[in-house]
Symmetry: D2
Subunit: 176 residues, 4 copies
């Protein structure tokens, strides 16, 4: 039985929409947690200091050591939720590519995980970033490719021409 | 010179995304106002009473007499903003079809208006409604066709297969 | 009959809470509009350019010429709504003190207006700004006094020791 | 060393504001997680079905069996985060009073916990609920007392007459 679904993709690639559709089409209730949940849980000062995260003017995200420490504990905790019986969808942005995946792989080593890549052409993601109106402009383009570097997936979906619901149904078909 | 752009389309047809893209691609600054602005400005009790608006379990929206009174004054005010020199994009849901359009036509009679229909196939809009996660399920499907009944446009866009940015560029090309 | 209530106070002085309580306790439905509505209606580029508004690192707000043009039309439009029969509560931050009030006085000259000052001790407002977690730190302190300079009121309330609901009832007692 | 701070109080008692102030005044970075985080992570269908949570018209919250299952795993996971080195502030609403506390006590048994009660007079909390404008009316009053029944605290704060920042400083003084 699939215990964790990890979705990885750049900002404005459409992950959150897919997650909500997945929660609607999967017959069991799944918890949805992710980078946004973690960032919201951080103190405000970690969001604007060198110790936390910074949004460079071009949309690049820089993550500091204190962010990393809390993130490591967060990952352990999410793995523990899955072990305690919650089925969990993790919505992630692997800024470090393969290195980021390894952090999750290590924590989830004894669990059955479905690794999903969420692709979106950079120009399309950049347009959607403008349409959303709530994200730093430039993040979509700067993350579109880099987050997939060296990452290994069971399955990839591409939101460039497919709707969130369509992608969710494709993923759901791989959940055991 | 185009003084007002009115976008009409059902819930989850993609109007707000197009509006933000339009504001980004149009060289002048345009104010964006619409149904959502008006509803947010209403007292909470008008949002759950027969005098205001109600969301039926199937997503249908019922609008009462006190809502209509405030709405009429709102429309006059938005027209006055345009007359006072602000270029305005109006993001509307013509629940009454042609009747709703006439209310706006009357208020904007002396202004140069670009009327734009925003279409989206009902099933696709319904999927996006699930993906958004912040709307009463059923609104997208119940409004997809009814809001266009008898309404006359200068231009129509369809978000079923086109991105918000693409639709915005099409509309912007018609703005004088 | 009071046609417009204008509330003026610094960021985190508690205006929005008072407005929602006013809408709840006043027997008629009143529209609530304000600086936040206007800023949300602006294009994103006006919120980060010299032509629009800027948030200085210390929380000071700098407003540019293109913002002023749209604001002037907005004020005219809000006045037109009141003339068309909507009772309107305006939630404002008079960054220019008496000059800001004069802009509104001119537009509302033929209407019956209740001018209300919303005070809050600077240190208390600064604490609430931290508690809210969604405002640039420093705005509360930098605006607490400056927005009241030279402004004339019919009535003042102070949220330092009084609840929003209490202030709303005090104001409602002055509405004819 | 205090590893977890658990804040318990009814809706609109001011917990979230205290949490943000605590994160600002405590020298180390603390993660803030709570009931709201969990509810946001749930599928939409659990928020409107007998299996999940329901908001009765009078503001009472009813929690179903599928919600309980996910909640149990969530609590285990939060405890695991603390064991993995994150200092965690938990913002909770003990709808079941002492029973709810026992669920957390069991999961946190080997950790150093500071139990904090957040009180607010029912009538004041009800007024703040109206002022917030984003909560079902009635929750504040229906939860004000019931959430504290049989619950044991190291420390209690009362937001009826004290600011969030003041309460946060009181709590911070008890953190080792």
């Amino acid at each position: 039985m699939t215990e964790v679904i990890v979705l990885n993709g750049g900002s404005s690639s459409g992950k959150s929409g897919i997650v909500r559709c997945l929660q609607a089409v999967l017959p069991d209730p799944w918890l949805a947690l992710g980078t946004d949940t973690l960032v919201d849980a951080m103190p405000a000062f970690l969001q604007v200091s060198d110790a936390g995260i910074e949004f460079a003017p071009d949309g690049e995200v820089i993550v500091g050591p204190e962010f990393r420490t809390l993130e490591a504990a967060w990952i352990e905790g999410v793995a523990a939720m899955a072990r305690a019986g919650a089925r969990v969808i993790v919505d992630e942005v692997f800024l470090g590519g393969a290195d980021s995946q390894q952090r999750w792989q290590k924590a989830l080593r004894d669990l059955s995980v479905l690794w999903v890549g969420v692709r979106c052409e950079s120009a399309v993601a950049a347009g959607r970033e403008v349409a959303r109106g709530d994200r730093t402009i430039g993040m979509a383009a700067s993350q579109a490719d880099v987050v997939h570097r060296g990452v290994v997936y069971d399955l990839e979906v591409d939101t460039t021409h497919a709707e969130s619901m369509e992608c969710a149904r494709t993923i759901a078909a791989h959940v055991r």
